[in-house]
Amino acid sequence: MGDSGAATALKDSQRRVILVGNPNVGKSVIFGILTGRYVTVSNYPGTTVEITQGNATVNGRRSLILDTPGANSLIPMSEDERVTRDILMTDGDRVVLQVGDAKNLRRSMLLTVQLSEMGMPFVLALNMDDEARSRGVRIDAKALSEKLGVPVVATVATQRTGISQVTASLDKPGVSALRADYGEVIENAIAQVSEFVPANGIATRSVALMLLSGDESMKAWLRASVSDAQLAQIEDIRHTTQKSFTHPLSYVISRARLTAADAVVSEVMTTEPRTTSTVAEWIGRWSMHWLWGIPFLLAVLVSTYFLVGDFAAGTCVDFLQDTVFGAPGEGGWIVPPLERAITSVLGTTGVGGFLRDMLVGQYGVITMAVRYAVAIILPIVTFFFLVFGCLEDSGYMPRLAVMVNRWFKKIGLNGKAVLPMVLGLGCDTMATMTTRILPSRKERVIVTLLLALGVPCAAQLGVQSAILAGRGPAPLLIWIGVVIGILFTVGWLAAKVLPGQSSDFVLEVPPMRVPRLGNILTKTLARIEWYIKEAVPLFIIGTLLLFAMDKIPIGDESMLVRTEEVGEPLVTGVLGLPQEASSAFVVGFLRRDYGAVWLADAAAAGAVTTNQVLVALVTLTLFIPCVANLLIMIKERGLKTALWMTAFIVPFAFLVGGAVNLTLNLLKITL
């Protein structure tokens, strides 16, 4: 069934430990401790969007640990919640480790009731015990364990507190007898529906309740073993049962579960009233205040700009570019000596010369691809992810979602989309994957489109801000204005045109926390690794392509020159750029930041005017980000949708660039 295919394929002898829990309770932290494998951890609900698995030896037993996306209910309301439910339904030797937020016991219990109904053997870890205590929440773990009939351990996963007790209890999980009281009518319906439910990994009672709740995703699964007539009978039972209630059955069922949860909570939890707020709570409040939230946001933006746009893209890049790499015939630690060495070995003519040019020539792998990737893009991406990691772990992102919710509403989205959109400023490919946290297809399509169309990734952003540095504020403001204007217009139109509903904005706002340096460094390293694996090969391919085009003659000119001639009406005519800019767009198809680097070189050499810089920047920003992003678009949204988006974006980018050029010319503006 769906994404659980990988899990069913494993050896029977291996036990599976499935981590389940509400969003943002620390499942991924515990996963990391158990497996030693890093998965992205953040203070943002919904960071994990698919099952991550890793091997671990738990009490001397080989186990496969599965980290699942957070779910508030096992009756799924979004794609990531469905993934979690599906994994629970596959058979085999397994034990569930339910991770709960100690300060939100009631919500954990809502899941506990459902796990109990499934007849699932499980262990309950009440995580973030320290936060609960500081808020005056006390839970009697022993009483809770007796009440549920399963081991209950208080943990602080980030400090590894309680983890050894958790692993020890994984060998003796309990099957809980906790049940909700649904009343006679629903109990009868459960009995009737149960007759049709085929044997599977979980108790039929639980499946019957899912069906009575009207869980559509179950139907496809049932179809494999149940006839259409029987399906219709189930539907009939549901309708008849519904007639006894004025509220939807799913709601009646949820309420009964919450009543059961409340009964447990009232027995084991005490709360001391608090009169004081912590500093973190104050900051948390202010950062989403309608007025004080704005200076807060500006402060975040300005410090990000100084760190990423100024320090990383300016100081670091200059140092790496001029001092460390350098250029043939000029100063620098790497390129000049390397170029001399390679030239002396390979010579400048024949096959040797060809290879020499391929490595250190104008379109050389080292002089161009490696230099671009390491000296220009890497420092920018590194600093962006450091800042982004801090924002993520501090708990600021959901507060930013609160601040921008109103604006996002206008483009058919809501505040929830802020995470993929801001992550897009780091890497559009990663961001496109996280669109899974959005509940409706319509929103996922809009965000995917906007990311591909106009959200520049850190690499591109860094290069572009470096190009614009020293050209005054006008081009920068026009560029930002045009791009944001386009994003809003396209988003607004897409929201009108696309069928379907946008979802309600309901987002959990976790407490503000001091980010842990260790986690941020690990996370940044993981993201840089991803970046290098993804970008460097494309840089090398792009460079080899240019190199080949430069070497292959068509008639008396190289293919590169010929391409530039072909692109001339568009590049020179419409956009008003020099002919050589064609090659920027050729490589821009591979990665748009790579295209931007070409522009940076041309700008540094004084080969283009500020007007041309602006036109080129606007056009490149609106391009498809890179081949990797295109592939992820196809994977996440399907080939057809991805192709439609591409067919729209590429001509549209030139159209807007042309419009900017035309406007500047008509108004006789020289920037």
């Binding site: 508030n72 209910s73 009756i75 309301m77 937020d101 300060k103 939100n104 009631r106 919500r107 809502l110 609960a132 808020r135 929440v137 709740s213 004025t246 509220h247 939807p248 799913s250 709601y251 949820s254 309420r255 919450l258 409040r285 989403m288 205040h289 309608w290 939230g293 959901p398 979602a401 609160v402 601040m403 921008v404 919710n405 109103r406 809501n414 505040g415 309600d504 904005f505 309901v506 987002l507 959990e508 706002v509 976790p510 407490p511």
Partner: protein, 219 residues
């Protein structure tokens, strides 16, 4: 049960027609079966004459005057139900007879006051719509409401959810999965730029649309 006046009987019949229409049933036969009054058929011609209803091919429909009167009766009945269950905490099964008596006793002005007091509830405890009065359209709040929409509660105030009346059914599930059901205590932290509420130790950012559909009793 004391004998009803003729007018009260007509009220009952009009109310039955209204309720049947909610299930898209308009047959005279349905009405005779559904209406608790005896000898309904004998009263129908008089009601036609009084321009309250019209009969066509064995089905019954309101004339404007009848529609207005039925609307008023249903409104009073359902408001009485909300008053008795939400405010006085009585069980739904115990109040039906009282609600039936009250519906005749409450005049439109008193109905407006009750409606305002209850925060202009859109539905009765059974989930059926309460026909809105003019007070709901202007959304009067001069009588201090006991039950109010979460969106109208003051920032910093705490309320207990009395009922949820979502325009979209899936919102029931969404809120329930976050632990928000009748009986839950919620605190309103802020309204702009987005609503932020707290329940237990969970803080939630939430659309205004949703907070309008959550009715709370201020604590």
């Amino acid at each position: 049960m004391p004998a009803k006046s003729y007018e009260e009987k007509i009220d009952e019949i009009l109310q039955s027609i209204w309720m049947l229409k909610e299930y898209d049933r308009t047959g005279v036969a349905d009405l005779v079966e559904f209406c608790p009054e005896e000898g309904v058929e004998a009263d129908l011609p008089g009601m036609v004459e009084g321009r309250l209803i019209r009969l066509e091919n064995g089905s019954v429909d309101f004339q404007p005057a009848g529609h207005k009167r039925a609307e008023g009766i249903v409104r009073c009945h359902r408001l009485a139900e909300v008053l008795l269950t939400q405010l006085f905490g009585l069980e739904k099964n115990d109040i039906e007879a009282t609600a039936c008596d009250l519906e005749h006793a409450i005049d439109p002005r008193v109905a407006e006051s009750i409606c305002t007091l209850l925060g202009h509830p859109p539905i009765c405890p059974d989930g059926k719509p309460i026909p809105p009065g003019s007070c709901c359209r202007t959304y009067e709040v001069t009588v201090k409401p006991i039950v109010q929409r979460l969106s109208d509660m003051a920032v910093g105030a705490t309320g207990k959810v009395t009922f949820i009346a979502p325009s979209v059914h899936s919102r029931f599930d969404l809120l329930a999965s976050l632990g928000i059901v009748p009986g839950t205590i919620v605190r309103l932290h802020q309204k702009i730029p987005a609503y932020v509420i707290q329940t237990g130790e969970t803080e939630l950012a939430i659309d205004k649309d949703l907070t309008r559909e959550i009715f709370v009793q201020k604590q």
